[in-house]
Amino acid sequence: MSTASSGFKLSEWLFTTDHKRIGVLYLIGSVAAFAVAGIMALLIRLEQMSPGPTIVSDAYVGGDQYNVWLYFHGAAMILGFLIPGLTGFAANYLLPLMIGAKDVAFPRINALSVWLFWAGIVVALLTFVVPDKPDVMWTGYPPYSIKTGGNLALYVFTVHLIGFSSILASVNFLVTITYMRAPGIGWFQLNMFTWSCFTAFIIQLVFVPVLAAAVTLLLLDRYLGTHFYDPANGGDVLLYQNLFWFYSHPAVYVIFLPAMGIFYEIYATMAKNPIFNYKAAVYGMCGIVLISGEVWVHHLYYSGMPDWLRIGQMVTTLLISVPVGLMTISLFGTLYRGAITFNTPMYYGTAALYLLIIGGLTGIPLAITVLSVHLGETSFTHAHFHFIMGIFATFSVFAAVDFWFPKIAGRMLNEKQARLGFWFNFIGVNVTFWPLFIIGVQGMPRRYWDYSQFPPHFADYHKVATIGAFIVAIGMVLTISNWIISAIKGQRATDNPWGSRSLEWTHTATPPGPGNFPKDVVVEAGWTPYDYK
C-alpha cells in the first residue's frame, strides 16, 4: 500500500487535527519532558554520591537546590512523560487504528488537548527561568508549599493545563471507543490496549477533577490569603493530602493499565498466540477501576485518621492485587506454547514481567500498616515505586515506540542499537535501585539530600546507585537517538513486519495516510485482533 506524503510543513503539524500527528506531537513533548527529568535525576544521584554537600553550592542552600531537582524530576516524569506518553502518544496514535475509525470523535478538541499539554510543558520549563523556583516535589504538600519562597503558581498552572488536557482527552476517547468502532467489532473483540485505555480514561475522568480542585484551593491559600489547608485558621492540612492521593493513587493505574495494554499487544504478536483468559483480564481491568478509588489512604498511614479507615484501606490495597494478578496471569499465559520472536519490544516485554514481580512484591509490605510505618518514608519505597511505576511504565513507552515504529515512521529501527540501549537501560536500573532497597530497609530516608547523620556505609550504596543512573543515561541516549536516526534513514518497513492480526497492521498503509484506511473497515463475525490459530 502506498502512503500520501507531501513533504514537511510545520504549520500542518502544529494545526493538525489528525490523531496520528497529534500522537507524534505528544511523543515529542513527553520525550522532551523525560530528557529534562532525566537530567534532574542525574543531579539528584550525583548529590547523593556522598553525605553533605556534593554538587550543591553549600550546606545552607543545598536543600533548596535539591528540592527543585526533586520537584522537576517527579512532576515532569509523571505529568509530563508517563501519563502523556501513554494516554497521549500511544492512545492517540493507536486507538482509532485499532477500532477501525478514521479519526477520533472530536478532532478539534483533540488538537486543543495537545496544545494544552504543550503549554503545560512550557510552564513547567519556566522553572529554570524564574528566580523563585518551585521546590514542592510533585505533591505540593501544605503547609510547606504555602510558606516556601518557591513559586507555587508554576506548579499549580502546570497541573491545571495538563489536567484539563487529560480531561478533554478522556472525554474524546471514551466517546470514540463507544461510538466509532468499525461495524462488527464488539466490546469483547477490542484490543487489550483499547480496553486498557478505556478503563484508564474512566479513572482519569473521575479523578483528575479532584486534583484540579485540590491545587486550586492551594493556589488560593498561597496567593489570596484563604486558609483551606491552614489549621491555625480553621483549615485542615490533611485535607490536601487526602485530595491529592485520592487522584494520585488512581493516576498510578492511569499509567499502569495502558502500559499493560502495550505489553499484551507485544506478547500476543511476538508469541503468535491469542490473549490467555481475555475476559478475565478485561474484568481485571474493570476491577481496578472499581477499587482504585479506595486505596489512597496507604499513602498517608502515618497521618491522623480513624483506625477503621486505615485497616479498611490496607485491605483494599491488598485486594487490588487480585485484578492485577488476573492481568499478570493472562499476560504470562499468552506466552504459553507460543512461537516467541525475541526482538527489542519483546526484550522490554520480558523485562516488564520481572519489574512487575519485583515492584509488586515489594509493594506488599508497604500496603501493610505496621510494616509501612517503618519502610514508608525510606528509600525502599523510592525503589519500589520506581520499579513498578517509573521503570515499568517507561519501558512500556520504549516498547511501544519500538514495536509500532515501522507503522509510525515507515522505517525499521536499527535493531542492534535498540538492543544495546535496552541492555544499558535494564542493567542500569537494577544497579541504581537494588542498593536503594537495601539501605531503605536499614533506614535511609527518602528525599534527604544530606545523610551525614546516618551510617557511613550508606555512601557506598549511593555511589553504586549513581553509577547505575549513568548507565541508564547511556541507554536512554542510545534508545532515543536510534528513534531519530532511524526515522530519517532507517530501512523501509513493510506494511506488517511482525505478522500481527490487529487492524492497525492488517488494514492500513505504512505509515497510515489521512483517513487511516483505504476503504471502510468491516470485520467478519468472530474476528478478533488475536486470531493466530
Binding site: 466517546v175 466509532m180 477533577p209 484563604t226 486558609h227 480553621g234 489521512p514
Partner: protein
C-alpha cells in the same frame, strides 16, 4: 485544518449521539470540580476568616508602630 476534518464516516445521527455523550462526560468532570470546591468552601468558617484578617491587620499595625522609620 487538514484532511482529518473532512469526514464521511460520521452521520448526523452519530454526531448528535457523540456530542451528547461528550457533553455528559465533560459536565460530569466540571461538576466534580465545582462540587468539591463548593463543598470545601461551605465547610470553611467565615468567622475564622474574619478573625484571621483582623489578626493580620493588628500585626501590621504593631509592626508599623515599632518601625524606626516612623
Amino acid at each position: 485544518m487538514g484532511v482529518a476534518m473532512d469526514r464521511n464516516d460520521v452521520t448526523p445521527e452519530l454526531r448528535r449521539r457523540m456530542n451528547r455523550a461528550g457533553l455528559f462526560f465533560f459536565v460530569l468532570a466540571l461538576g466534580l470540580v465545582g462540587y468539591l470546591t463548593h463543598n470545601f468552601t461551605k465547610e470553611y468558617d467565615p468567622a475564622v476568616v474574619k478573625e484571621a484578617k483582623l489578626q493580620k491587620q493588628r500585626a501590621a499595625a504593631e509592626r508599623a508602630e515599632k518601625s524606626p522609620n516612623k
